[in-house]
């Protein structure tokens, strides 16, 4: 596990979070739903925003807004500077060696992964080429490759299997990776919370001559990440899961790799020159950012990353890991074998995502009852249907932790589950 030096058990050395104080930073946590204070356990779907993010975006709209990379007036220059600053902040957040040239802004993680499939994939993959994914990928790291496969006449798409504990089975990795041109792997499963040994997989992949595209949507917001240690060639994540706004995604790749890739979407901002019969693309990252980008969102992402960094990603990780451990123990204590929780036990390779099945009650019904307790969880297949089939379930109810989650949240979750059990038992 070389993702990040995982904070040793429950983060020894890291000062614990003052959750009570931190909760005051999130305006939405003061909401009451169905007569109950909201218990937000859906960060894996979308995180809540601290007030500093909302304020930064409002301030930007009130004082600065202009289109970027165009105007010469003061606010246009300022808007451009804020947008480009977000690129550097996002790059530094994940340890990018050359943040100004290695960060591409997209719409979300999904678009980032589609960009890789479209621009890198179309130029580098041919009919019959092999790629290797994992059985626990989100659809966003499966379907773009399938679309490409159909277009170019068929890819050999292989999968690293998972075991009963929700970990990747790497025994046959050398054979699986043989002849593969690309490995697509999640840095943390959005269903199981599994944090696979990405650096180990990347090393084997690189030895075999393959590039590695990592889906960082779940890991980047919840643990310290350093792209060099991670070993991936591409890393994608979303602003809105990182306590920033919706509508902004990030793609990191080494500058040399981006240099060699063709454009993604065509339009304004991504060209050097256009004639009636041809165009010359701009250098990266502009090459991949056609049209007016999400500027206010980039400002929001800067504020979100500053908020998280001020707290410290190692402390956030330690808090969420300790709470995962607490939740798994309490769910077991109160619900016993009636409650099946997917994924590995709490530890360095487990994030704060708790997908569960309870007494055969359908996930939708669980979530509906939990809503009456103010508890927000996500029911469904979590855009990972191949994984659902492997787990032998149609859907799970997924509770996912944030830096502001606490033991009380877990207790309310358990109370709601018990009520669902009574209702449907």
């Amino acid at each position: 596990m070389a993702v990040t030096p995982p904070p040793s058990p429950a983060g020894a050395g890291a000062a614990p979070l003052n959750v009570e104080a931190l909760r005051k930073d999130f305006p939405l946590l003061s909401r009451v739903v169905n007569g109950k204070p909201i218990v937000y356990l859906d960060a894996a779907a979308s995180a809540l925003q601290p007030r500093s993010v909302i304020d930064a975006m409002t301030r930007y709209y009130e004082t600065t807004h202009a289109n970027v990379h165009r105007g010469v007036y003061a606010t246009a220059e300022e808007a451009t500077a804020l947008y480009e600053r977000a690129r550097v902040v996002a790059g530094r957040f994940i340890g990018a060696p050359d943040p100004a040239h290695e960060i591409v802004f997209t719409k979300n993680t999904t678009e980032s992964l589609n960009l890789v499939a479209h621009s890198w994939g179309r130029a580098n993959l041919r009919a019959g080429d092999a790629i290797l994914l994992t059985e626990m990928e989100h659809h966003a790291n499966i379907v773009p490759w399938m679309i490409l496969s159909e277009e170019i006449g068929g890819l050999d798409i292989r999968y690293i299997p998972i075991d009963g504990g929700g970990r990747l089975v790497l025994d046959d990795l050398d054979a699986l990776v043989d002849g593969v041109k690309l490995v697509g792997i999640t840095a943390m499963s959005n269903v199981l919370g599994t944090i696979p040994p990405l650096a180990q997989v990347a090393e084997v992949a690189h030895r075999a001559g393959a590039l590695v595209v990592a889906d960082g949507a779940q890991l980047v917001p919840h643990a310290p990440v350093d792209v060099t240690a991670l070993g991936a060639d591409f890393l994608a994540f979303s602003a809105h899961k990182t306590m920033g706004p919706t509508g902004l995604g990030v793609l990191w790749a080494r500058a040399a790799l981006l240099e060699g890739m063709g454009p993604f979407l065509g339009g304004g901002g991504m060209i050097l020159d256009v004639k009636l019969d041809s165009f010359r693309p701009a250098p990266p990252p502009a090459r991949f950012e056609a049209g007016t980008p999400p500027i206010a969102e980039a400002v929001g992402l800067t504020a979100a990353i500053e908020y998280l960094s001020d707290i410290g990603m190692d402390r956030i990780r330690a808090h969420e890991l300790a709470l995962t451990e607490y939740a798994l123990a309490r769910l077991d204590e109160k619900l016993g074998s009636d409650c099946r929780i997917f994924g590995p036990p709490a530890g360095p390779d487990r994030g704060g995502v708790l997908s569960l099945a309870y007494r055969g009650v359908h996930a939708h019904d669980l979530a509906q009852v939990l809503d009456q307790f103010g508890v927000c969880v996500r029911p469904g297949h979590h855009c990972a249907k191949p994984l659902m089939r492997k787990l032998g379930v149609q859907a799970t109810a997924r509770a996912s932790l944030s830096l502001f989650s606490d033991e009380h949240d877990i207790e309310v979750l358990i109370e709601g589950l018990l009520e669902a059990g009574r209702l449907f038992g």
Binding site: A363, H364, D365, Q368, P379, G380, K385, Q394, F424
Partner: protein, 161 residues
């Protein structure tokens, strides 16, 4: 938790726990149709036999939440053995009940454009599902089997013509 009790009425829970007309018929001769809710992964498989203008037999398989499964069960009990014309009418009445909420949302509840009154008496036990309209996301669960039934009847009609 009044809303919750309204959603999960006893009759709904009963049909969820002990679904009626469960299973599959040999196809052919039965006509088979599948319905999916891509949002939650719920699925329903209907096998139906239409004879002399009557929905002579209907079996339901598949899996899903309490609302989708009880709605399918209640539907099967309500439509089996009835003339196709009446079944179509019931589908329309049921879907009308399920769209009340959407209509009131669109019209901002000012009462100016109230949708046509639905005769809940005609729905019998099915009226138990009206609590679903307060939970818009679940309407798709409740209508899953009804849409599949409508599709199946259309397909049978095309085959026959």
């Amino acid at each position: 938790m009044a809303d919750l009790e309204e959603l999960y009425r006893e009759i709904i829970l009963d049909h969820y726990r002990s679904p009626r007309n469960r299973g599959e018929l040999d196809s052919p001769p039965a006509h088979r149709v599948e319905g999916f809710n891509p949002l939650c992964g719920d699925e329903v498989v209907l096998s139906m036999v239409v004879e002399d203008g009557t929905l002579a037999d209907l079996k339901i398989a598949g899996s899903g939440c309490s609302i989708s499964q009880s709605s399918a069960s209640l539907m099967s009990a309500a439509v089996k053995g009835r003339p196709v014309g009446e079944v179509r009418q019931l589908i329309s009445t049921f879907k009308g009940m399920m769209s009340i909420h959407e209509a009131s949302l669109e019209h901002d509840g000012d009462g100016a454009d109230e949708p046509e009154e639905i005769d809940l008496d005609k729905l019998g036990e099915l009226a138990a599902l009206q609590g679903v309209v307060k939970f818009p996301v679940r309407i798709k669960c409740a209508t899953l089997s009804w849409n599949a039934l409508a599709q199946g009847l259309d397909e049978v009609a095309v085959e026959a013509s």
